[in-house]
Amino acid sequence: MNPKRTMTLNLTDQEMSVLDQLSVQKDLSKTALIRQALRLYQLVDARITRGEKLFFEDQDKQKAELMVL
């Protein structure tokens, strides 16, 4: 793997509990989970910048556009 740098992350109790919960659910370390989140954010942002839209489809095949800041 490529070299890495360390940083401190300040999270609220609520944020930390979500991070804990997701880590267990996804079977990932907290670092790996944040890394995944960053990758996803960049990917979505790159496609939206390109003019594409992000949609979620529910079980009834209804599509809803997701606003991404």
Partner: protein
């Protein structure tokens, strides 16, 4: 990464690999006749397609238009525009190219050739397209160099 250093493991895995193809991802149904026609010119044909997409992206960004706005103004299908910019195998319809040419004030025939709808016989056009594709970036904001490359390419397309 801890790659396996055992020679027997490697020999066994090589044996397994040799018995198969290892392809993943997706299929195309047949060899495209155009693609088959002349293998030696293939990289050039691909580059003119790249030039076409980048020309479109730059023209849009120069005018500060979203894909949606461009679709509206040039009166073309938004879905098709998105596919042109994102799907490498997509072939646009002649109507769309015609509309885009009209809106961008570019010769429709050359645009069709760049988009892969007509066979390119013009060596100069190929050369100019390769140069343009090499000098423009697909994602970043329009740089002064890109702007100059864009202007030069548009001038070339309109000249001949």
């Amino acid at each position: 990464m801890k790659f396996n250093k055992d020679r027997n493991w490697l020999a066994k895995r090589a044996e397994q690999e040799d018995r198969h193809f290892i392809s993943v991802g997706g299929l195309i149904s047949r060899i495209d006749p155009e693609w088959q026609a002349d293998v030696s010119s293939m990289p050039n044909v691909e580059t003119t397609k790249t030039a076409f997409v980048r020309l479109l992206q730059l023209a849009r960004r120069e005018r500060r238009l979203s894909l949606e706005q461009l679709a509206q103004r040039a009166d073309v299908d938004l879905g098709e525009l998105v596919k042109i910019e994102s799907d490498e195998s997509f072939k646009p319809t002649p109507r769309t190219i015609h509309q885009l040419a009209e809106f961008l004030k570019l010769p429709a025939k050359k645009l069709m050739a760049l988009a892969g709808l007509l066979k390119i016989k013009d060596f100069g056009l190929q050369q100019a397209s390769v140069r343009f594709a090499a000098r423009s970036e697909p994602v970043e904001d329009v740089s002064p160099e890109e702007h100059a490359a864009f202007e030069e390419y548009v001038k070339f397309l309109n000249e001949q």
